[in-house]
């Protein structure tokens, strides 16, 4: 007590009010602190709660609370200006700080917070501005932060804590700062901060962050290096803005635009197919009619009937194929359901059992890593059917077909792989044409060049993709990403 009084005298001498925080969590408010505000010990309750609820201006409430706790728990020094209500109901401005400038003799077992009366009043405008800044920060969800390289510490303002879902007294970790980013963005985050710290490269980028409860969301991260007088980089200062809602909207717009683009591409293809494939039939038809009128011999005229039959048949086939393509475009909205790979495969094997048995086909399937997908059942059936019959159709003449089918998850994507040991496809020559309509690559009378075209269209209509890798005489592997 005596010591305290002694101390208080020392400090009181220079007209600075202070709080003494003892390690038993008691606190003491100095006489000057009270008299500066025209209070007496009777008029106040000396506690943090009382101060926060009754004395400090609401504009400064958050920051002070935050600073206070950081100081008490971790000894993080701070300095802030604030408005405190006097007994007359008027707010007075103080600069509050925790660093003892060394001239004061203080009790080493306690912590001290000093409240200096502001000599020159900050203009009201500035206080108002500060309020506006805070409002702006809150409304735009923008939090600021600072990384101090010398102290090896990061500092967050309340808004940053709020954005990332951490409590107000949370102290950010610099060492484990990668935990604020989802796994797939940690390298990127590391790179931009590293480049800023080493090369002084400013950044302004969009990146995903991870909140305390594990929710990942988009932020705009802006940062720039902080230099000391010798132009050494001593820290990075910046802001995080929560842009999750707008970014998701942007991404969804991008997705929609991609869908439109791919549909447009299919439509363009379709128009090309119509003009090209239908043209070959109509030109044959007009050639026949020309011949009918130019031939004089009735026998010869009659013989052309067979040609007309053939043309009618192939025209019909083409129209049917085109119809199949159109059906894909219009049935995208067909309901998807949970489809079991094994069930669909068995169904397909059942329907083409004869072909499979005739060629001594072995089918090895492993769906243990991914048993179900959400898909249009008829499409999955068609995909299996096309790829399996293809594998059998283009089997190697020297061996029985072996087809290996595996489902799995790769980088969060659902994958199906179908490999065969068939004749393979010359990828260099036909790589880009494999999935084209009426493209065939082998001497095979059954080749119609429609199966893979339909398969690709079905997969793409549901926003998936299909690719192929192949080696002549070894076999092919089709990889589908759903």
């Amino acid at each position: 007590m005596l010591l305290n009084q002694l101390n208080s005298k020392t400090v009181d001498d220079i007209d600075i009010g202070y709080w003494e925080l003892k390690d038993n969590e008691d606190m003491f408010w100095s006489e000057v602190f009270l008299s500066n505000l025209k209070y007496t010990e009777e008029g106040v309750k000396i506690s943090l709660d009382f101060f926060l609820n009754n004395l400090i201006h609401k504009v400064d409430y958050e920051l002070f609370k935050n600073n206070f706790f950081s100081f008490v728990k971790n000894g993080t020094d701070f300095r802030q200006s604030m408005l405190i209500k006097s007994s007359k109901g008027k707010y007075k401005e103080f600069v509050c700080n925790t660093t003892n400038n060394g001239t004061l003799k203080l009790n080493k077992d306690s912590k001290f917070i000093f409240f200096n009366k502001r000599k020159f009043k900050t203009s009201k405008k500035l206080t108002k501005n500060k309020f506006y800044y805070k409002e702006t920060a809150a409304m735009t969800k923008t939090g600021s932060w600072y990384i101090d390289f010398n102290k090896q510490k990061s500092y967050w303002d309340q808004q940053t804590r709020r954005i990332l879902g951490y409590p107000e007294d949370y102290l950010p970790s610099l060492k484990n700062s990668q935990k604020y980013y989802p796994l797939e963005y940690q390298e990127i985050a590391k790179k931009i901060f590293f480049e800023c710290a080493i090369d002084g490269k400013k950044f302004d980028t969009e990146i995903k962050m991870l909140s305390k409860n594990g929710h990942s969301f988009w932020v705009r991260a802006i940062g720039r290096p902080v230099f000391d007088i010798h132009k050494n980089i001593i820290g990075i200062r910046g802001v995080f803005q929560d842009i999750d809602i707008t970014k998701e909207k942007e991404l969804s717009l991008q997705r929609t635009s991609n869908i439109v683009a791919s549909q447009n591409k299919r439509l363009f293809n379709f128009a090309h197919i119509v003009s090209h494939n239908l043209r070959s039939h109509t030109s044959n038809l007009s050639l026949v009619s020309e011949l009918i009128s130019s031939f004089e011999d009735p026998e010869e005229k009659l013989s052309l009937l067979d040609n007309i039959k053939d043309i009618a048949k192939s025209l019909n086939d083409t129209i049917e194929h085109l119809n199949e393509v159109v059906t894909i475009q219009t049935s995208i909205n067909k309901s998807k359901s949970k489809v079991c790979f094994d069930d669909v495969l068995n169904q397909v094997i059942g329907s083409i059992g004869q072909i499979i048995a005739k060629e001594n086909t072995t089918i090895n399937a492993n769906f243990s890593k991914l048993e179900y997908i959400n898909y249009i059942p008829a499409y999955l059936e068609s995909i299996f059917l096309n790829l399996i019959t293809n594998a059998i159709k283009y089997r190697h003449p020297d061996r029985s077909p072996v087809i290996t089918i595996t489902s799995k998850i790769e980088n969060t994507k659902q994958i199906l792989e179908i490999s065969d040991n068939g004749v393979g496809i010359d990828m260099e020559k036909f790589g880009d044409k494999i999935f084209g309509m009426y493209k065939t690559f082998h001497y095979n009378k059954d080749a119609t060049g429609i199966g893979l075209f339909i398969t690709k269209n079905q997969i793409e209509a549901l926003n998936g993709s299909i690719s192929v890798s192949s080696k002549v005489n070894f076999g092919s592997t089709f990889k589908i990403q759903f």
């Binding site: 070959s280 030109s283 011949l291 043309i311 009426y438």
Partner: protein, 138 residues
Amino acid sequence: MNTTLVNLACIIDDDNIYVSLIKKIIKAKNLCSELLIFNNGQQSMTYFEDLSNTLSNNEIPEIIFLDLNMPIMDGWEFLEKFSKIKDELKKEISLYVVSSSINPSDMNRAKSSPTVKDYLVKPVHVKDLETIFMRKAV
């Protein structure tokens, strides 16, 4: 007319209906005595490569009708390969590209090849065929 205009002509096309119709015209109009028919570029290329080795003159066609869209080896690839060996064939060969494609870029590409005499859009007309064979016969 007992004698034909041209001795040997060649059709490279995978459209069997088209091929059979052309055959009929050639036969009815007595345009040429013998026809070589191939379903794709690969088959015809094998034939011509053999020919360039053996050099038997009467097996070289005087006219070739080449389709563009074909499996295995398409018309473009055939053109490229054929251009390299045609000088070894000791005969003046008139090669016509015959396609249902009305795409101007296909037409220009074909016409810009020195190997290609002309580009015919399907359907071909009886008169056009006659003209081609007659021109060759002169």
